[in-house]
Subunit: 110 residues, 2 copies
Amino acid sequence: MKPLHHPRAEDLSIYAVLHALAEPARMTIVRRLVEADGKPCGTFGINLSKSTLSAHFKVLREAGIIRQEVAAGNSRVNTLRREELDARFPGLLDSIVHAVEQSEPALPPV
Amino acid sequence: MKPLHHPRAEDLSIYAVLHALAEPARMTIVRRLVEADGKPCGTFGINLSKSTLSAHFKVLREAGIIRQEVAAGNSRVNTLRREELDARFPGLLDSIVHAVEQSEPALPPV
DNA sequence: CCGTATGTTCGCTGATTGGCGAACACTCGA
DNA sequence: TCGAGTGTTCGCCAATCAGCGAACATACGG
């Protein structure tokens, strides 16, 4: 497993972040990470093909929202880049996640 | 001038809001309204064609971010739907606008 | 009534998006 | 060594997006 490229915190674009979160499947990924950080790609309970999911993870990673690191075996652990996001865009992630939590049904258990 | 359709506050979608704001020209419109609310379409200092601008206003309006009302003459006054947005998505608009203000140069005077 | 000014709508275009399956890369266990 | 499991990459496709000019609608002023 090759390590993937992650943008530096100071290079994050607010437009890339908003675009990444303006999509239900990607928002679901983020919500899952908020409730339990550090999950492998296959454990998000999203009914999409592997390739589509992989593309969504890539969008989130390139927007600087998540980190994808090589884990035991051939899996990747996905984590939120929360400190860096909060430092650069204070309150942003919280208000967005709160907005979706309160305007959409809770996610079913995995 | 026909009045335009505006979605009800309780029907606003977080995805529509994020998508609307994930575009620089539309973000500029919102920033202008934050600094001075109630401006006609032609006064935003954005270098795009009339038709493109009109389309951007439409996206913002249909996302529930702005209100476009018939004004004196044939112009439309654009205002932020701030109270409704804040009621439905608390803190969202503020944190997004703050994020872009602090990560991008200030807008030039009109 | 006729020009000017403000916006909207209607094609059209090229670029991006989100979806998929197939193929590939890699690691772990049997 | 050989599956099985996990993820990425590569085409491909249909849909959406952002841009434009031209044409239309409407209102004000001379």
